[in-house]
Symmetry: C2
Subunit: 103 residues, 2 copies
């Protein structure tokens, strides 16, 4: 339960959260997507985090994603790389990011 709380806290405290592996090019690609949108993100590098494997199990319990990367925007689970790319192409990421905006 504590690991799930830890995962949840990353999600709650950051507009964009990417659960990632440093050596994974799909993870790199999804970060580049947000960079290209000039959107800051927090990435948790599971391969370089203490308890990374246990955290990834907790991530699975929370998200049902068995893989990396996993993306959250405004506390909403977007999903894996291909789901994130699709959400971007559908303008859905932009919509979420505009929530709580200066308007």
């Amino acid at each position: 339960a504590e690991l799930i709380l830890q995962i949840q806290s990353y999600i709650d405290k950051n507009t964009v959260v990417i659960f990632s592996n440093t050596t994974c090019s799909l993870s790199t690609k999804v970060k580049e997507l947000f960079k290209s949108m000039k959107v800051p993100y927090f990435s948790l590098e599971l391969d370089q985090t203490e308890n990374g494997q246990k955290l990834q199990e907790a991530l699975y319990q929370l998200t049902l994603e068995t893989s990396v990367p996993v993306v959250f925007v405004q506390q909403q689970q977007i999903g894996n790389y291909s789901k994130t790319l699709k959400a971007h192409e559908e303008g859905k990421l932009q919509k979420l990011l505009e929530m709580n905006g200066p308007n």
Copy 2:
């Protein structure tokens, strides 16, 4: 030297060799490329091979590629995923595969 000989022997004995990780989607994508061409390949799954890390170091010495996947066709180093995709688009893979063909 023995590990390099081991790597070289995979290359020599197989028309297409893919040095791969089972959990890596770029590795999966490059296999799908050859499947779509109906071309059989041998893949060495470094994450599931005894001495996989040492083999990957030997692979680096041989190829100067620090990553997976690494692809050889007809004993020629094609390179990583993006180089392989490019070689495919340029018809270069097809040319190599037609060597030693029934013609």
